[in-house]
Structures are given as C-alpha cells and as structure tokens.
C-alpha cells in the first residue's frame, strides 16, 4: 500500500506540487490525469525519490520512505517507468534489463515472465536500446522495471508517442499485473480513454493541485474531460 499525503514540491521560487495526496493498494490501478505541465511527472518523481519534497509524507508498505534515495526505494519494491522511456541507449536490450538486477543476488537472471509479457524483446536481446523503435523502447522500459520484481509499478505516460497496437499490448500488461499479479500501479496519463479503461481510481491535477479525485465509475466523465482539454 502506497500513501502519499500533502506533498509539496518547489524548484527555487516556483511551486509545482501543492498539497497533493494519492494512495493505491495492491491489485489497484490509480491514474493521475492532467494537462501538460500540471505536475503529474513531478508527483511520480517525488514518489520515486528523484525529487526532494519540501513537505508531506510518502508511506510505502507501512514505512516512511521520504528520506530514502531512488536506489533504496527501488530496492524496497518500487518500479519506475519514466516519461520518454529513458532506456540506456548504448546498452543492449539484455544489458538494459540486467541493470535492474542490482538488488538481486549474484548470478540471478532476468525473470522469464518478462519475456512472456513482451515476447518481442527476446528477438532483440543483442540490439542496442537506442536502435529500437519508440514502441519497443516503451516495452523495454516496462520490462526493465519488472525485472527488479517490484510490488508497486509507477508509469509516466507510457502511451506518449506510441503506435496504437503497442498501446493495446501495454494496457493488457498493466491489467494483468494489477489483476492477476496483485501489483499496485500508479499511471500518469494524458490519454483519457486509456486511463479510464484501466484505472480503479482517477486523480485529476490542475496547476500543481488535485482538482478532482475518486473512483473511476463515480466520476463525472464530462467534468474530467473538461479539465483535460482546452
């Protein structure tokens, strides 16, 4: 169970998160929606430990992780799929996956189920990450996060710039992880339909604040759309 409460984050004089709260339990998908630049990615980066928050708390599996660095949070079971994929361009697919074995015992291998979820990666094991197409890179980024066997997966706009068939694959994987594998999933999206179909709860952000939050079925879709489009 992840519970982030009242998170404040600013860069110098500009505040990008103002008292944002979010929680997600095992088997659940929590979607964070909002237009560009409202602070969705900052929220995820704060949860991952890539940003130093000025206020609030982040409780993961009963422990405060606010003081931990990203590596320690990863070792505590949080997996991160960054915006824009950010795979290692000069490492092969195999090596990209192996980076996530940092916390695993010596001699561990990439779990076979990663390849079951993304069979295409098996064909490209020796290819450099930078040479893959955008959709393949996105699959690699998710596979890489799964290699560390996390219990919470946070995904930052996994559909951005990806062709529709791959988006379907990604949706299938996320649903499988939450429903069959009991993962907790936090999903940041701009693509409303994609999020609505997957999410149990939806949080809509506007200018660094939560504008609307609740169970997916209970939210007024028109109102959400109004906050998203212009």
């Amino acid at each position: 169970m992840l519970t982030a409460t009242n998170i404040d984050l600013s860069y110098g004089a500009s505040r990008c998160l103002r008292g944002v709260s979010l929680s997600v339990g095992p088997g659940q998908v929590a979607a964070v929606l909002g237009r560009n630049g409202v602070g969705k990615s900052s929220l995820l980066r704060s949860i991952m430990g890539l940003e130093r928050i000025q206020g609030g708390s982040i409780i993961w599996e009963g422990k405060e992780v606010r003081g931990l660095g990203p590596a320690e949070r990863a070792r505590a079971g949080i997996g991160y799929v960054p915006q824009g994929r950010e795979i290692f361009p000069f490492l092969t697919v195999q090596e990209n996956l192996e980076t996530a074995l940092a916390a695993a015992p010596r001699g561990s291998n990439v779990p076979a189920e990663v390849f079951d979820l993304f069979p295409i990666l098996r064909q490209f094991l020796r290819r450099r990450g930078g040479d893959l197409s955008g959709g393949q890179q996105q699959q690699l980024a998710i596979a890489r996060a799964l290699t560390a066997r996390p219990r919470l997966l946070i995904l930052d706009e996994p559909t951005e710039g990806i062709q529709p068939n791959v988006i379907k694959d990604i949706a299938r994987v996320i649903r499988h992880l939450a429903k069959d594998r009991n993962f907790a999933v936090v999903l940041v999206e701009q693509y409303f339909e994609f999020a609505r179909d997957l999410a149990d709860t939806i949080t809509v952000m506007v200018r660094g604040e939560v504008a609307l939050a609740g169970k997916t079925q209970e939210l007024d879709e028109a109102e959400v759309r109004k906050l998203l489009t212009v």
Binding site: A13, S14, Q83, G130, G161, T229
Partner: protein
Amino acid sequence: MNEPQDLAALPHAVSTKGLYLDGVSVVFDGFRALNSLSLIVEPGELRAVIGPNGAGKTTMMDCITGKTRPGSGIVRFGDRDLTRMDEASIANLGIGRKFQKPTVFDALTVFENLELALKAPRGPIACLRWVLSGEARSRIEKTMLEIGLTVRAGDLAGLLSHGQRQWLEIGMLLMQDPQLLLVDEPVAGMTDHETEQTAALLVGIAGERSVVVVEHDLEFVKALNSKVTVLHEGSVLSEGSISHVQNDPRVVEVYLGR
C-alpha cells in the same frame, strides 16, 4: 493564409522580410529531429508553435539561432542565409531568443542584465568605453516598467522569483530591439495571473516585431489569439487559427485528448 503544402511548392528564391524555413531536416545519430520542416513567419506576426514532446520545437529554434546546423534545407531571415552565420551574428541581425530554462545573469542586477542586452556596439573596446546615456537609461526604465520589475532594478537577478526571471528574460529580448523574437515556453512555472500578464505582454510586443512562441499550455496559446502551427515528428502537421487546429482530426489524434 498559406497551407504548408502550398509553401513547399514556392520557389526557393522567394523573398520575404520575415522568417523563411523550407525543407529543413536535422538528423541526430539516425534520429530525425526535423523532417523537411517548412514555416513562414511574416514581419509583425505573432505565431504560436505547439506540439508534443520531441516534435522538434526546440531543434527548430536551434536551427534559426545558429546553435544547430541543419543537414539540409533553407533557413533565411529577410535576405540573409542563417545557416552560414554564428550565434552572435544572428543575434545582431535582430533575432532574439528566450530559452526554455530562463538564463539571466544571476551575478548582475536587473538593470545591468537589461543594459547588457540593450542594442549597442558589442566589441570589447566599445564595452569598455560605454557610458549609459540618458536615452539608454530611459529605454531600460521603460522596459522595466513593461515587465513590471521597476522596483527590483537594483536587485541581483539571482534573487528574482521564477516568473520574474522569465519576464526579465523577455525584457532582455526587447532591449535587443529584435525584429524577430523566439520565445520558448515563457509561462512554464508561472501562476495563472502571471500567465495572463505574459500573454498580454507578448501580444503587445507583436505588431512591431515578429514573435514566435513555443508553448505546451493550450490555454495560454488561446490567450495569444494568433495563428497556430502544430509540429509533429519534425514537420508541420497543421497550421491555422486556434479553432481550425483544434478541430483538425490529425491534431486531435496526436496531441489533444484522444
């Protein structure tokens, strides 16, 4: 209003007083950052450029200001070929640029930042002999008024808030007395109120000068009430008024709520 298709058909010798880009391509290590991009900005025009991340907005600015040399294509300003000039000469030609991350000189005061940007001889000797004339002072003071920083004139730029830094940088652009302003994400990190003020400021600037604004924030773009160019994968996807663009199914597909 020219549609992009028509643009590509124009003869290359076309002469416009404004900015003229045609068939510009930039390739980084196999990645096409710009793919035969064509764009015309008339003198005095205000133009918004939008597009998702990686659409090539910043690379386009880099090509215009001499930071990146395009692999192929034409980049002209008036009758000058920008691909053959360095950053300083392009700036002296009258093209000013505001970066995405505001870069003002923290160790100098607001006044000094503006003074540095003020159009004047740029050589070392000229700078050594520079004496602030009454006319120059009044120009700087006028600009400080415009960007709302008059009371902070003597403060170090490093002490300004994020929004104030953005404005100072716009002010520095104005001091250069440019014919063309390139403004990259001017309202990132600004409050609603600041955003409105910025929109008004930019609208006020256009008319005398061409202004190209790159922005994510569609509400802000709406407030500019100008012609909009949508970039996608390094080329122009759609161009026209904000309502035209909003109703273009291709734009909806790649950029707006799908």
